[in-house]
Structures are given as C-alpha cells and as structure tokens.
Symmetry: C2
Subunit: 599 residues, 2 copies
C-alpha cells in the first residue's frame, strides 16, 4: 500500500515565499489570511487527508462502489464515516460564501486542500468534488428561492451535487443531447432522458442529491443554442426544507472501468422527473460552463495529486531498493549493491517528476490566486487581467496538467520495476486512476482546441501575447545569476510566440491548422508556464540561500530542480514548435475510408 | 469487447514487397519459402489468432488465473482448449529445428504469427512465449541427453518452459541472487530458493513445466560471475521419457497486478528441488542471455501487437462516432454531427499511431530477417553484419517498441473518450496489458543502458556508425521525389551520430553521462530506424503507384503516412539530441537524501 505524506513544506513555500499571500491582506477575501492561518490550514488539511482519507485509497480500488438491483449505490467501506468527518470539519466549505454557511476563504486555500485530497483518495474526492461547480452555477444563475433551498445544504455537504451532461450518443458535442424538459403548469419541467458517466449520480453519503441536468425544451433551437440547465433533486424539497417525494431519477447501472473504482460512474435515468430551470431557457450552455470551468481547474489538480503521490512512493523505493552499482563513486562499497537512486536514468525519471510536480503546483496555486483576484482585486483592470489569464490557462491546467500527471505516474511506476506493476505497491492504481482525468470534463484534445481556437485565435492572440510579454519581462528583469533559466526560457517564449502567431495566421487558410497544432501548442504553453514558475522559484531560492534564511537544503534542491528543468524540461520546446507548424496537411491527406485499412 | 482483424495486408506488403523474401531462396532456411507459402502462413496465422485466440482476451482479463491452496494454478476459461488447438496446428513449432520436431521455418515467419498472437491475447501468449528462449538455451548449451529429453516435448508444446531469474530482492541485478544449487552425487543439483514474477511458473495447460533457473553453487564467486543455469522440471523425467516423481518446486501464490491477468505471475518455491546444470558452472549468465535476447525481441512485438489492436478499435470508433462538425467541408451536411475522424486532433492520434505501427512492424520484421541471416547467410561477413545489427537493435526493439506501443495504446484509448476508460470497449485492457512489457525482461531503462553502454560505448560506436552510414547511403541513393523524407531523415541521422559521439566521448569524463543520455538515445535510434523503414516503404509505394500495380489506395495511404512521419515523427529528434547532450550534471547534483523531501 502506498504511503502519503502531504507536501506541506512545498505548499508553504509557494504560498508564503513565492506568492507572498500576506501581501494581499488589503483585499476582503484575504483579510483574514496571514501566515499563521496559512500554516494552520496547510497542516490541518495535510493531517486530515493523510490520516482520514489516504487509508481509504486501496480499499476504494479493491471494493469499488456497488450497484444494487433497487438502484441504490453503496460506496466503499469507510467512505461514509470519512465523509461525515469531512463535513464535520468543514473542509468542503473553505472557499464557499459565508452567506450560505461557507468560510469565505480564498479559492487558493481550497486548492491546496483539494490537491492533498486528490493524492489521498481521488475516488473519494469525486463525490464532493463536483459540488463546487453546482454551487457556482446556482449562485450565479439561480433564483433567490433556488439559492435559499439548495445552497446551504450543498455548502454544508448535507447534499451533494452532480453534473448530468453526457448522454450515450453525445459527450463533447452537447448540442446533440436528447433529454427533454417539458414545461409544467407549476413552473417546473418534466425531465426525461438518459445520462451516462455521471460521477456520484447515486451514492449513500448524503440524504439528497442535486443533479444539474442539461436538457432541451420542446421548441428549443437545434444544437447548443437550444440547451437549458435544470436542477433535478433526487428527493423533492418541501417548503419547510424537509425532503418530500422521491423524484423519478434512478441509477440504472454503474460502469466497470479502468480505475477510480471508488467513484460511482452512473447511468442515470430521468423518467418524467421534476426539474427547475437554472437561468433562462436555451442559455444552459453558459450556465454549464460555470460548472465546467470549476471542474476543469480541479482536474489539473488531480493530475498533480496523482503525480505527487506517485513520486513520493517512487523516491522512497529508489532510496531503499538496491540493484547494481553506481557508475561513479559508490555510497557504501561494503554493500553488494547500491540503492537505485545512484543510477542516472532513475534520477532522470525522479527529477523530471519534480520539475513537473513542484512547477505545476506553483502554477496551479498561482492560477488559483488569479481566480481570487479575478473576483476580488481592487480595480476592474486588475480583475480583468486576472480573469483573462485564468481563462487562457484553464485548458492548459486541465489538459497539460492531467497529461503530465498521468505520464509522471507512469514513470514513477517504472522506477519500481516489476513491483510497480503489481497491486501491492499502489503505483499501478495511481496510473489507472490518473488516466481518467485526461478524458472527463472535456477530453484533452477538446481542451487543446479550446485553447487554440477559443482562447487564442478568437482575439487574434492578444491575451496570449500579454502573457508572453509578462514572461519575457520577468526574464529580462531577473538577476544575471539566473541566466541558466532565463536564457532557455526567453528562447522558449519566442518559440511559443512564433507558434501562436503561426496558428492565428494559418487558421484562415485552413481551419484544420488550428486543430492540427492545438495539442502541441497546449503542451508548449504548459511547459513555458512551468518554466516561468521555475524562474520565480529559483529567484526566491537564491535569495533565501544568499540570506542564509530557512532550510538551506530545501532551497538548494529547488535550485537544482530549476537547473534540471531549464536544461531538460525546456528541451521539448523546439519539437513542439515544429509540430505546431507542421500544420494539417499530413493529417487531412487521407480520405476517411483509408482509416479502415487494418493496421 | 474489442474486435481484432489481423493486418495480413500490411504483413504481406512487408514480407513480399518491402523485404522481398522470395529473393532469399538460395539460403537453406528460406528454401521452402515462396510467396504462396507466405500467403498461406499469414492467412492461417491471422485466422487462428482472430478466431481461436482473440475471443479469449476479455475472458482472460476478467477471470484471470486462479491459485489454489494446493499450489495448482488454473488458467482462464478457454485457455486449455485453445492451447490444445495451438499445439495441434503446430503454431509454436514454426521456426524451431526440424531435428526436434519443429518446422524449421525462418524466424521472420514466427515473428508474424507472434505479433498476431500478442494482439489477439497477450496473456495467452505468455504461456508458450517463453518456451522459445528455453529451447534456444538448451539447444546451445545443453547436453545431448538434455536435448533429447526436453527439446522434442518443448517443441511440440507438450511441455512449456519458464525463465526463473528474479528473486524478491533482485531483478535487474542478478549477481545478488540467493537461490542455492548444491551438487549431488548423481550429477544433479539440489536447488533451494524463492523466485518471483515467474510467468507461467504454474499452469494447467501442460503436464510438465521445465523451469530454467538461475542459482549459485556453494563456492561460486560473488556477483554475476558466480551464476549457473539449471533445468528444474516440475516432474522428473524417467529414462523412458515418462513422467516420474514430483519435484519440490511449487507455486506459493500469484500476483495481483495491473493487467495481463490471463498470465499467471508466480512466486515459485524451490525446496531442494532436483536440477541439472545447463552448460558450465558459473557461466549461467551467458546461457541466460540466450533466453533473454529471444524474450526481448519478443517484447517489442508485444508493444506492436497491443498498439495494432488499439489502433483498429480506435479507428473504427472514430469512423462511427459523431461529435461536432468538420472545420472544413462537411462530409454530409444533412447530419447533425460528423464522425470524429474529421477532426484534425483525432487524426493526429491515429496518424501518429500508424506512423509507429506500420513503421515498427517493418522494423521488427526486418530485424527478424537479420536474425535469420545471422544464422543462415552465405558468408561469415554477412552473418556477422546481420548479427551485429540485431544485437545493436535488440534493446531498441524492446525498450522503444514497448514504450511506444504503450503510449500508442494510451492515445488510442483517448480517441474513445469516456468509452475508452470503461471496460466494455476493451481499450483500457490494452493499456493495462501493454504496460508490463516496458518493465519485464529488463526494464526499459536497463535496455537503454544496454544500448548506450554495452552496444554503443564498448566498441567506441563502430557498429552504430555502420548503421548510421547505411541509413545515409539509402537517403543519398533515393530518388529525388523522396526528398520529403530523405531530407529530414538525413538531418536526423546526423543528430543521432552527434548524440552517439557525444555519449562515447563523454562517458569517460563522467560515466553517469551514459546513463543520463541513454533513454533519449534509445528513443532517437528507434525514431530514426522507423524513419529508415518509412523511406523504404515510401520508395516501394511510389514505385507501385507509378507502375499502376496492385491496390492503389493501399500504397497511397503508405505514402501519406510516410509524409506524416517525416514531418511530425522525426520532429522529436532535436529534443532527444538536446536531452542526450544535457548530460548527467543536473541529474546527479542532488544528494540522495534530497529525494526524501516530500513533493
């Protein structure tokens, strides 16, 4: 069974040294946040996840969820008790509005907790994980009555929310949905249809479940302009807030799947279920994106959480397992073999992992801060700048973060050799669990198109250019001693800019050029963004080392990983630029039927 | 459940058009091989694998093997019957020596069958898969008596062989093994110890199992110079060839693992079991490598088989599943959505897969031909040249082939979106099954060191240089119309040569430089080798198109994939060169204890 130690030291470094959250206390959302509070939250979050949640992870995988003939779904042993403790301690309420019982903390602190929770038990996190999106959608688009009815219970975790979008014949292309919503005389709608892949569609953790369901009204326009969003509770809620009649929304089965067995992936049948519209008719897609964006940011954190868990266990193994001898000086010549940490190729995998994990953690938390600033910064300009950055980077966090999180887990599994493939050590579960985050909430190819099409090309690359300039300015402003990273990073930004400009320019000639280069472009943005984080980390670490402050070994390790990332991580850039600029020609050359040739 | 159609058209193209096997009929091993025979073998191999073996694959995954308290292991439903048919049809005997009941066909034809078998059910293939190695070891190092006793039964498939090398504390570093072999008065040895990860260590397919076991004699030297190889049959064989007493070698348990559930991965306890030495005392490692090299070549074919299976199912899905609309012209504007094959990013994954699969199939079969030539070419020089090439490329086929096979399966799973993650469609099984081949028979990092250290650096890069020159000459000799691939391939070879020279030159200054660059170097050799295959394929396809011969759509597809590979596949080369030349510095900078910092 894998062990999990929350990386509190690194989180503290990012929040306190790198992002200097204490400097934001002028903003209302940060008014209560000082370094003491940060310490307390980090420590308690770590403790809760390590002690209460992490032991569930192997159980979740082995037992999975169970579907019963009567449509009930039971969660793995221990989930109910852990969920009660989660609610009791208020972990779900951290960044939710005080008005509805939340703690009103900044989003960035909830993001820290969420990473730990993902590492500890990704499957468990799936149940409360989607509720924030549901809360946001109701908060922004719901009526006062809806807010009063649902938000306090969702915030408290008494009820949980779902996102019921996908249908058997449509996932990405929600314009194709067939679930119907027929208006009733009482202002409600009668919802009928089948939804699949609904995480937490049914469970035994809460007395009620609040489904947020996409459906079409009878005379809705074709396609995605004809979609509306509905609240469909499992149990209808009486005027006094108590639970009434059972709504005919039932779980038909749960999926057998590669991993994430702790999460119930449900087929949900809506059979003239009673629902209430959220916002206006045919404006459901916008409301859905409120949920979806929250879910996408959260996904990147899942990639990070799995990578972090996998790294820790691989590093422990590499320090312990003795095979072969060091190429250079041996640590202890009296031993027949050395720990495999002496081997350069084992270190390659571990150092690559650190380059991603520590850099991506900084990126995730920096973006979370931007989200807080997008809502709470003093001036509209600051809010807009932060919002544009979050919007631009959301597909990158989701797509790049979950890809690299998975591949990092695969590499960490490799460090364990055969022991990585057997169940006992837990690494193979990491890989299986991490895999899904590349697929759900919009497959990573869809993220890439969101980035290249919607986020880049639609404004002719302006938001992107602002971001590239920011990176260049930081490179230019950095101390000469940081040249080891500012030089390759400056080159990388130029390659990134060339790639962005190529996409914008060539999208007109053949719109497939966007799709053809989108995936490589997403990787590029991710790699350069992590490069920016390593520049900042190296800068802080160098200052701390120069001042002789704090844990010197910690800062020295930061500098070493920064060097590694500068030399090896950024080496991917020229390839990705070439792949962006390779265009659509070779991709679209074959007629569709040529793919029927069996190879 | 995934469907499997053997790629007989492509195999035929490679054997008949590309490698022109009919031109080798002057050699004894090819004397019976004409295009009719090739056609028959390909078709029958495909038929057998598709009809008899492929239906076992989902059953193998779901049921797995079962360990019983008495040490018996039963295989999944259908395995016994299928194995009987496999033996009956003589599929295991294709390339084995006629002297012992084999068909004496060239290795290349067995390689074709093996690929299909891996696609159809990798788990099933594990049982007969290791027998060829056992046969080779006994054939080369065994006594006449051992040959007479074991080879006819192994060749016929009446008995199966295993490779019992790994122990709980040692996998890669076989010098550490603790299993003891004490000489007995009758010339046998008494073997005691525990072996783990023994594929097919116990099963219900054959009446006897022939374990080839590494152990140390009492006064053996330390390390790998003190290892001997022993034959330890499950049942002792009487003089008349019938089975005698049960040898105390028992299966203590089987591993729960990520995938490949159809294969029993056994803990084997040898408790004063009777064994007979193969070859000389303390020369076991050389004998082991005879088995190991066969197994490594076979592994690459597993990566290929999984990738091929995954591609077929992803392509079928992409042609059928409708989501979104084409960026350019729509295939059928009356439909609400287009098949996802219209999307450039979906095609990117499919075309990348084809670049690997078709190119690597050609590479695998070309190497198999070299193996045949290494044994059967007319002159010693030809035999040596072929042997050197196989030896150089063996770690590449294993390491690069299984890595890319796995990543291809992951990408194909991605094409299916959520349907790729659920069990029903079979793609997630591909991914889980394919993963192990990167680990066993020497983890891919070990392959990379074998390539960079043993195969490249030890002779100062001479064999490598011969290979690079061969590729350059083919680029130079190619028709100008092939410039689309000869130009980037020539550049790539130069980058590869620079990388090889860098490694050879810098191994002295810091031996860790070899390990640090080895993995990227292995990828480089793989990518360039596939590039060479695509140059050859494109050349043949162009000639066929010019002549108006054969299936024009097939050759056009070949050319299109060659273009794709030239533009996008070879784009990885500059990155890999940078990573090779990045050296060991950033990898070895941190003290071991810095990896204890929790991230």
């Amino acid at each position: 069974m894998p062990s999990y130690t929350p990386p509190t030291r690194d989180t503290r470094f990012i929040l306190q040294d790198l992002l200097r959250l204490d400097e934001y206390s002028n903003l209302p959302v940060f008014s209560a946040v000082d370094n003491d509070l940060i310490d307390t939250i980090i420590d308690e979050a770590g403790k809760f996840c390590a002690e209460v949640i992490a032991p569930l992870n192997p159980v979740a995988d082995k037992e999975g969820c169970t579907w019963h003939e009567d449509g009930r779904v039971t969660t793995p042993t221990g989930f109910r008790e852990a969920y009660a403790q989660y609610c009791e301690a208020g972990w779900g309420t951290l960044a939710l509005p005080e008005e509805y019982g939340g703690q009103g903390m900044p989003h960035i602190l909830a993001t820290v907790f969420e990473e730990y929770l993902n590492s500890a038990c990704h499957g468990f996190h799936m149940f409360p994980g989607l509720t924030h999106g549901a809360v946001s959608a109701i908060l922004e688009k719901g009526t006062e009555e809806q807010k009063a009815t649902y938000l306090p219970r969702l915030v408290a975790g008494e009820w949980l929310g779902t996102m019921a979008l996908t249908e058997p014949h449509c996932g990405t292309d929600l314009g194709l949905i067939r679930t119907r919503a027929v208006p009733q005389d009482d202002g409600s709608y009668s919802i009928t249809g089948t939804k699949i892949f609904i995480s937490g569609g049914e469970q035994d953790l809460t007395e009620n479940i609040v489904h947020l369901v996409l459906a079409k009204t009878p005379d809705a326009p074709e396609g995605s302009r004809g979609i509306s969003l509905f609240i469909v509770p499992k149990f209808l809620v009486k005027e006094d807030g108590s639970l009434g009649e059972r709504n005919p929304v039932t779980c038909g089965s749960i999926e057998e799947k590669m991993g994430l067995h702790g999460s119930a992936t449900c087929v949900m049948n809506f059979d003239e279920a009673k629902g209430w519209i959220v916002g206006e008719e045919n404006k459901g897609l916008a409301a859905m994106f409120i949920m979806m964006n929250a879910a996408r940011l959260s996904c990147g954190n899942q990639g990070l959480g799995q990578a972090s868990l996998a790294y820790q266990n691989a590093a422990t193994y590499a320090l312990d397992r003795r095979q072969g001898r060091a190429s250079g000086e041996r640590p202890d010549p009296s031993e027949a073999a050395d720990p495999i940490i002496v081997h350069a190729d084992v270190r390659r995998m571990l150092m690559d992992a650190r380059g991603f994990i520590e850099g991506f953690r900084a990126l995730t938390l920096w973006c979370a801060l931007q989200l807080d600033l997008a809502h709470g910064a003093e001036t509209e300009e600051e809010r807009n700048t932060a919002d544009a950055l979050v919007s631009f980077l959301t597909p990158v966090l989701k797509g790049f973060g979950t890809d690299r999180g998975f591949y990092t887990a695969v590499n960490m599994q490799q460090v364990l050799g055969g022991h990585g493939y057997v169940t006992e050590w837990g690494l193979e579960q990491c890989v299986r669990d991490a895999r899904v985050a590349m697929i759900y909430e919009g497959a990573n190819g869809v993220q890439a198109m969101d980035l290249a099409g919607r986020k880049l090309a639609r404004d002719g690359g302006q938001v992107a250019e602002t971001y590239f300039t920011l990176i260049e300015r930081e490179c230019d402003a950095a101390d000469a001693s940081l040249g080891f990273i500012t030089e390759p990073l400056s080159e990388a930004v130029q390659d990134l800019r060339d790639s962005a400009q190529w996409l914008v320019k060539n999208a007109g000639a053949d719109p497939n050029n966007l799709g053809a280069g989108s995936f490589a472009f997403m990787q590029l943005v991710g790699i350069v963004s992590i490069g920016l984080m390593w520049l900042r980390i190296a800068s802080v670490a160098q200052a701390k080392l120069a001042a002789g402050e704090g844990d010197q070994a910690f800062y020295e390790a930061k500098l070493a990983v920064a060097h590694h990332y500068a030399r090896r991580g950024l080496a991917e850039v020229p390839m990705l630029k070439r792949q962006v600029q390779a265009g659509a020609e070779t991709l679209m050359a074959l007629p569709a039927e040529a793919f029927e040739i069996t190879v």
